[in-house]
Symmetry: C2
Subunit: 326 residues, 2 copies
């Protein structure tokens, strides 16, 4: 896994993925006590950065091989990314999703042409289910984060951040990344190390799912305790990946942990000040930038807003509870 794979992915993604804007607001700067730049990946196709990795992986398979179809397991965003990328390529897709994933994510995945197979996330092993189905049906398995081609696709987000931050005069800052298994973080980390070494990636996770922060602090992979729950469904993975962890260890600063309440408040602030829709798991980085300012260094901070696939009910809870988010 290296920068050349990200450069190669950048070429395959050109003209297909959106270059998402790096947004900001003087009101958020005031709230955070420093300049805040938000990479709005919620505006990516399918509402999250996951389309980048999905397209990177599928487009790298030789067209003749591709026709067999692909399979993925996902709580919802990788699912939609893979389903849409497969649909655009005209190939079949099977997605293994937790039965309690947000209904909107399940519905969208089906409507993008994929076959959805559900499982119980608290008693069944999605990796085992996915691997077994892949073999049985002869499908290409595309893992959500511990897969070099996926990491390479997510890394293109980092290439864009490096350029857009420089355009706005920012060369030194923490870059906060919403972190589940670490695919997005490790891809961004490799891209920034190459293009913008003054931008330091840092992971942000929800309380109860701070496996990456603890693994980074302890120097070895540790898992989350079982039975924890969080509204951040997109990033509640059990442990950092075996490919992603060493990359994060090399490049990332200390991990930051935020509460579900912080996420809802950040969603309200993004609604009011940036006019973008964030899901809880896509708001953890902005939550850290706005409400954990003492853990951050420097005059500017970049927060990746990784996804916006949220049900109306959850979004209304954020607005009702936190108003403008200030």
């Amino acid at each position: 896994m290296n920068i050349d794979m990200i450069r190669a992915a950048e070429k395959r993604l050109r003209g297909v993925v959106r270059q998402t804007p790096l947004l900001g607001s003087p009101f958020l700067d005031e709230l955070a006590g420093r300049r805040v730049l938000v990479k709005a990946e919620c505006l990516q196709h399918t509402g999250s950065f996951k389309f980048r990795g999905a397209w990177s992986a599928i487009s790298a398979i030789a067209p003749s091989e591709r026709q067999r179809g692909v399979i993925a397991y996902s709580s919802g965003n990788h699912a939609q990314g893979i389903a849409y990328a497969a649909q655009k390529c005209g190939i079949p897709a099977v997605i293994v999703m937790p039965a309690d994933a947000p209904q909107l994510k399940i519905d969208n995945t089906r409507r993008l042409g994929a076959e959805v197979v559900t499982y119980d996330r608290y008693s069944e092993d999605r990796d085992a289910i996915g691997s077994a189905l892949a073999e049985e049906r002869n499908l290409h398995l595309i893992r959500p984060f511990d897969e070099p081609l996926v990491i390479a696709g997510q890394g293109t987000t980092g290439l864009e951040i490096a350029k857009q931050a420089a355009d706005q005069g920012i060369s030194t800052a923490d870059v906060l990344v919403c972190c589940g298994g670490g695919g997005l973080t490790s891809g961004i980390a490799l891209a920034l190390a190459d293009r913008a070494p003054g931008l330091r990636p840092r992971t942000v996770e929800p309380v109860g799912f701070d496996d990456v922060a603890r693994s980074l602090a302890g120097g070895e992979i540790v898992e989350n305790a079982p039975g924890e729950k969080s509204i951040c469904d997109a990033i509640v993975t059990p442990a950092p990946g075996r490919l992603t962890f060493p990359i994060m260890q090399t490049h990332c600063g200390a991990g930051i942990v935020v509460s579900d309440a912080d996420c809802l408040r950040a969603m309200a602030a993004a609604f009011t000040r940036l006019k973008i829709v964030l899901e809880p798991g896509g708001a953890v980085a902005l939550a850290a930038a706005l409400f954990h300012k003492d853990t951050i260094e420097g005059d500017a901070v970049v927060a990746v807003a990784s996804g916006g696939n949220v049900d109306a009910a959850m979004f209304m809870t954020a607005l009702e509870t936190y108003g403008t988010g200030e």
Copy 2:
């Protein structure tokens, strides 16, 4: 008023305004029965396209003259655009706003450093108040739409649409524009006529404020009946402008009129499918694209999403009433 003024504005705006993305979703395409591209000007600085015209007008005043300060009257979006542009230039701004403008718009305008003077929109004439104050305090009056430098700034939206639509393979389509006094529409019309003659601008207005549609149909300026109300506070102007109307007459197709309910439903659809926040007046064009499809021609349609400055309560009404907007 001509394309050269828009080109000149483009140069003054470079590196200051955001190039907003042209978004889309397969779900919206399905709903509309044709390809839908949404120009997300809600992501512009201050949450609406108005910052373009504001910066265009202020940046065109010689620096020594600029120091006297500016005055504007506005229901809220032009207000914020002028306040922020003035703040960035370090000059004073006075804004005359209706007392019943959304509180968020009044608060934002004040927090961007402007002095706000309120008036009663149903009994007082804002143009008279603005002109009198401008003379009394020796300020530059920047009218919200019937002002060439403002039209030129808004027209840069059209330059971007022409390029972005071409990049997505679209050369023939109706371009639906949220229309109050016609500043945005006439600017876009001039830009498209020059750069993308296959893209035809059309106005969209709320029921009760369809002065432009009726003026275009009848060939002369007519006003709205007094006493009408609409949730589309951003675009409830009494009549098309004397500068903007002839431009719209030359270039625009028939105007389209949508209900307040259509707007709320379009806001819900934009939330679910595009992850952007629209205010009612900023959603009329998307509402026409999605729910008035028989009035539109061609395989594709462009809808300008002109602003997103909406209170949480109004936004929640849209989500509660219309769910995913489908």
